[in-house]
């Protein structure tokens, strides 16, 4: 069983959901983020948040995957002040929806004053509502941006144990772990981590507070990032206990602090969900072996 704690499924297809379920992903977290281009109306942002707490959650359930999300104003769009002010007004209404496991992904992009303002305001909201935080660390000037993100969390009195710092690399991981934060790694081709590098990180740092995710979205990315990393790690001799923690248990422990994500959600789903919102996972029923399917899907000629 795997959890992908960072996946923008609103941009993905049903083929992806099928492949993820077949590969053993039982749950995923969809962080609120931008959608590849900036929104220009508060209303479109509101409908986006509405989609990830509602429709996308339902859609994932049809494939036997439990869908959770995080709610937040991302750093890129924080730079549009008119939009940002409007979105901030709506966030408290979304942060308590079913399956919201954190405020996120928030943090810095270009590390502007506006990004800083709304990052801090959302840390305060997370404190008020008792929710964990998912931090997006910047692509550019990453090391400094990561350090600064943690400084600001500490300044606002957040417990590092309730904060996941995501998109780490070899340069940032040591400090994040040393300061007691959760360290997320996004297995995303070209711009973030590769899974061979990830295996080296697991060998060097072990699995304590390390979380692997795919961050798959509308760009060239891989929704099987977590199971593929697990398989590569297994083949490379990483102990299974470490793989289990990094690809499943740590994400559950970190985001489970919200009270919204429990192993029972997929192992013993409540009847009310099975009637309406969640199709039982065929792997958990013992229907198939989990597998990382590397061959193209839709192989058959017939479309019924």
């Amino acid at each position: 069983m795997f959890i992908d704690p960072h996946a923008h499924m609103i941009s993905r297809t049903t083929d992806d959901y099928e492949a993820m379920a077949a590969a053993g992903i039982v749950a995923l977290i969809e962080p609120a983020f931008w959608i590849g281009q900036p929104r220009t109306y508060v209303g479109t942002y509101v409908d986006y948040l509405s989609s990830i707490v509602g429709w996308e959650r339902f859609r994932a359930g049809q494939f036997g995957i439990r869908h959770y999300c995080t709610i937040g104003l991302n750093s890129k769009e924080a730079n549009n002040q008119e939009l940002a002010e409007g979105v901030m007004d709506w966030l408290p209404r979304f942060a308590l929806k079913d399956g919201v496991v954190a405020i996120g992904e928030i943090g810095y992009d270009e590390q502007t004053p506006l990004e800083d303002k709304y990052f801090r305001a959302q840390l305060e909201l997370a404190k008020e509502l008792g929710l964990p935080v998912m931090i997006h660390t910047p692509h550019r000037d990453k090391k400094r941006g990561t350090t600064r993100s943690m400084d600001v969390c500490e300044e606002h009195g957040l417990d590092p144990a309730s904060v996941v710092v995501d998109h780490n690399n070899e340069e940032t991981v040591a400090e994040v772990l040393q300061r007691g934060f959760w360290a997320g790694f996004s297995i995303y081709p070209s711009t973030k981590m590769g899974n061979a590098r990830m295996v080296e990180i697991l060998k060097r740092y072990g699995s304590q507070r390390i979380i692997v995710d795919s961050a798959c979205d509308w760009g060239i990315s891989d929704p099987l990032g977590v199971p593929k990393t697990a398989q590569l790690a297994l083949e490379s001799g990483v102990p299974t206990a470490d793989i289990h923690r990094a690809c499943y248990a740590n994400a559950l422990a970190a985001y489970g602090q919200s009270g919204q994500m429990k192993e029972d959600d997929w192992l013993n789903p409540p009847a009310i969900d099975q009637r309406t919102l969640y199709a039982d996972n065929s792997i958990l029923r013992g229907g198939r072996e989990a597998r990382v399917d590397l061959t193209p899907r839709r192989r058959g000629l017939l479309i019924d």
């Binding site: 509101v46 409908d47 948040l49 509405s50 707490v53 509602g54 429709w55 959650r57 339902f58 709506w90 408290p92 209404r93 979304f94 942060a95 308590l96 929806k97 079913d98 399956g99 009270g259 919204q260 409540p270 009847a271 009310i272 009637r275 309406t276 919102l277």
Partner: protein, 284 residues
């Protein structure tokens, strides 16, 4: 006689356990006109504090619901859903009910949508919620669609014929059941019978099964030879299809229907009252 609000309140508080005090205080504050933000937070916290278990209701409770609001079915209501509907009913400010409903529906998660729509028969000024009910029917989430369509007197009371017909057709289309739709027989109409027969033709042409319940709304209007041909075909299908077609024929005023039925083994069961749409549903 208790009102729906009184019933919901007693059911929720009785089943709230440790959260009963919290729920009582919040509901009282909302009734006194607490700010809208408090309503949002109560709606968000309801499942977190009260859980999502089904309401545990006795036959007397169900009878009380029926007495308080004709057609109101509370089976399958959850405690958080009941609390949310209750909050909506007791909270008042300068918004109309329809405005508040729209505001909440726009940002609702699936559980909230189900609760909001299950409450339809209980809300004031029901005609003002026509657009909102239509939005619920348009949902691609089956549970949300069924929260409007099933076990509720609202559709039969409020929907015009066009909306009614498309609700029935969509129920079949999404694999939902017709029998929980209240007023199914009373609101059957020739246009719906035409739409359903064409739907059956589409299914046959595609080599897909035709849901047998479909014939229930066709029978009373099956008068011409083409309709008879459809029912004859259904009679030759699976056991449920044959039973459904026989029931439909028994509702048809056409002599040809009686002639078709006369040769069928289902006729005796229908005449004896052993085969009805209710027993058909139970067997399915």
């Amino acid at each position: 006689m208790p009102t729906p609000v009184e019933l919901l309140r007693s059911w929720v508080l009785n089943q709230a356990g440790d959260a009963a005090t919290w729920a009582r205080q919040q509901l009282d504050a909302l009734a006194r006109g607490a700010p809208r933000r408090d309503l949002y937070i109560f709606l968000g916290l309801a499942p977190r504090r009260l859980g999502k278990a089904d309401l545990i209701l006795s036959e007397a409770d169900c009878a009380a619901a029926e007495a308080a609001r004709s057609g109101w079915r509370v089976t399958g209501w959850s405690i958080d859903g009941a609390a949310r509907v209750l909050a909506l009913l007791v909270h008042g400010d300068n918004q109309t009910f329809a405005e508040r409903f729209k505001d909440l529906r726009r940002t609702a998660d699936a559980g909230e949508l189900v609760a909001l729509y299950r409450g339809l028969p209980l809300y004031p000024d029901p005609g003002s919620l026509a657009f909102e009910a239509g939005e619920g029917l348009r949902s691609n989430m089956r549970a949300v669609f069924e929260a409007v369509a099933h076990d509720s007197p609202y559709p039969r009371e409020q929907f015009d014929e066009h909306r009614w017909n498309h609700m029935v057709l969509k129920a079949l289309f999404v694999g939902s059941r017709l029998s929980p739709i209240q007023g199914l027989d009373q609101r059957a109409n020739p246009e719906l019978a035409r739409i359903l027969r064409e739907y059956a033709h589409e299914r046959w042409a595609a080599g897909r099964p035709v849901p047998p319940e479909l014939w229930r709304c066709v029978g009373p209007f099956a008068t011409d030879e083409l309709a008879m041909a459809d029912l004859r075909r259904a009679l030759g299908g699976s056991l449920p299809e044959a039973r459904a077609a026989a029931l439909a024929l028994s509702a048809s005023p056409a002599p040809a229907a009686r002639a078709l039925l006369a040769a069928r083994p289902e006729l005796a069961a229908i005449n004896a009252g052993h085969l009805t749409w209710e027993t058909f549903e139970k067997a399915a």
